[in-house]
Symmetry: C2
Subunit: 417 residues, 2 copies
Amino acid sequence: MTALVIERARLVTGTGGPLRGAALGALRVIEDAAVAVAAGRIREIGSTRELAARHPAAERLDAAGRALLPGLVDCHTHVVYAGSRIGEFERRLAGESYQQIAASGGGILVTVAATRAAGLDRLVDESTPRLRQMLRLGTTAVEIKSGYGLDLETELRMLAAIERLDAALPLDLVPTLLAAHVVPPEYAGRAGDYVDHVIDKLLPAARQWHARSRFAARGVPLACDVFCERGTFDVAQSRRLLAAARALGLPVRAHVDQFEALGGLDAALDLAAVSVDHLEASTPESLQRLARSSTVGVVMPAASFHLGQRYANARALVDAGGLLALCTDCNPGSAPCPSLPLAMAIACRYQKLRPAEALNAATVNAAHVLGLGAEVGSVEVGKQADLLLLDCRDWRELAYSFGGNPVAAVVKNGRLV
Amino acid sequence: MTALVIERARLVTGTGGPLRGAALGALRVIEDAAVAVAAGRIREIGSTRELAARHPAAERLDAAGRALLPGLVDCHTHVVYAGSRIGEFERRLAGESYQQIAASGGGILVTVAATRAAGLDRLVDESTPRLRQMLRLGTTAVEIKSGYGLDLETELRMLAAIERLDAALPLDLVPTLLAAHVVPPEYAGRAGDYVDHVIDKLLPAARQWHARSRFAARGVPLACDVFCERGTFDVAQSRRLLAAARALGLPVRAHVDQFEALGGLDAALDLAAVSVDHLEASTPESLQRLARSSTVGVVMPAASFHLGQRYANARALVDAGGLLALCTDCNPGSAPCPSLPLAMAIACRYQKLRPAEALNAATVNAAHVLGLGAEVGSVEVGKQADLLLLDCRDWRELAYSFGGNPVAAVVKNGRLV
């Protein structure tokens, strides 16, 4: 039984991904299209006339010629945390650098302290409005990393919060274990020991948690991530951790080359990482090697904008035939930005992407990073009915205008939310 | 009779403006504050306990500890127009400059053609969602310029559209005559003749229109503006036009130094302009001279962001003791951005403003530019009850987070809208 027909839409369909190189710019727009939804999935795509005749009893949503798109997929965020870092923002405006603030005990460790002190309820309560904001801005699937706990109890509490939020909100959440986000205070100067601890204790515990979670039941994997950068985890430590995760069967990802190109990118490629994320400082040679791999380069325009830092050379990666995805990196320190449309807008202006490339990078390719490529990321028969209706006819408004919200309605699993 | 008491607020009050130099950073935050509203105006400010006791019969709005701010004032926009310039945006992403596109018949003249072809109803219909978007983002007063007509009939139609929108929407609109926005096609190569035409015909007609409009009845002035730049109007032409406007008693403003410092700023200062707007290319000496004047420097961070152009040196103007205001410059070519919070966020990061400075520049100083300093721009007894309730306790979220919308509720003239 078809529950809903969205009709008279300018439908932006996509093709199955991931999309590599020149294919990233391909989009198909169908005028006067209709989408029939049943049991939360896209059942049929056709003309308004056809589908209206075929499903006379279905509920109708009249798009009135406006653009209908796949729900956006945010494949890299740190949106579950407690506390605020606004004070640090004022310090940065007064001239201190992100790294200086971190070195003086500010930065991520401030959020770690607040998150350790917060119970599960508070973590869920503080994170809920951020996720609702993302949903209003058109994001229907969100990856969320742990990494503000850095001890067994709090890392598992963060994962539990992600599970609670997934159950409570009309969003698909995807958990990632980022126990190796920074070195916790109790391991100061002993990053290697902390990596051992993660490998021996946190990784197996997180894997056990995942096996019993709603995520495993739905086939959503738990990935393992690491922040490879000077002052956090070096290449050898990162490689050791990711190899251990691989040995347990977990997909692996890595934060590499944000401030310095240390070699983490190559290590991640050796381990067939699903993605390498950041890439602001990557060398042209590394990007070429990445482009020839099946690892996705995930770039975060909002973080560069916020930090006033160079942008990753997304154009070079795409031009070399590589796989690119966009994310918000939403987090309280380096990217307090819930908006994938704004990330797309920044990427078009400062990373020389075309709007169609930015859209595919924030939908079908982002879904691939999360292992959700068969479920979300494009408007195709059989996929989840996660759709955005814009308030305008031209879907490019999403990347052209900025600061507002062109999303008029969000349909998640076939329901208007 | 007090109609509404907003209570338990973290109230960000302001002081009467305009605020100059170091005073721009001054804000007062009152914990557990209440604001009593009667007949659309702020009648009393005090503690929750006091005001609750004094006005037991009033309707109550519980801020629950969240931040309460003055409504934002956008003192420079071009938000009334017809048509779209997204195609041009794609040309810019492919490498053409704003000026190259203008020189090939694109740019502002594309919007002029669409606006001339649009009737009053269509102008109003197309502009309404843009203004509603601004209102949702916390803007309660908006200046709107003509300048996409460039002939008597269409310029007056644009002004009529602004009047219709002012009557229809819960926003205070302020009209500005910008007949000298660009040289219209029928005057190509004859900018001087067009300036004569504006002085002889458009200026007197607009003044007559204003005298009979709802704006004159409310004491809202009509200002006259000019775009002084290479390829549009030179310094002598700009000076001639603004002098004629001054002679008719109109406040004058000028777009100066966006791409090149031609001397328009000094001409505007000579004529005691209310504001000089843009300033990206202003010399340090000009900014010093501006800082010593009573003319406000209006900067537009969203335009620099969109064009990838240098930012106006707002910091230097403030440090030299000058008057600064922020705007969106919302327009289809160089700033498709309805969001003053995002303009504030960009200004903090790229123009080295503190959040408090950005807020005052987008409220009390912007109100002063529009001649509305006694009515709006701060939370003071006697002013209009134009207030924003944020979804958080810390008002700095407005400039810290970006891309979302931290405005939970807007009160306009004492009513929740």
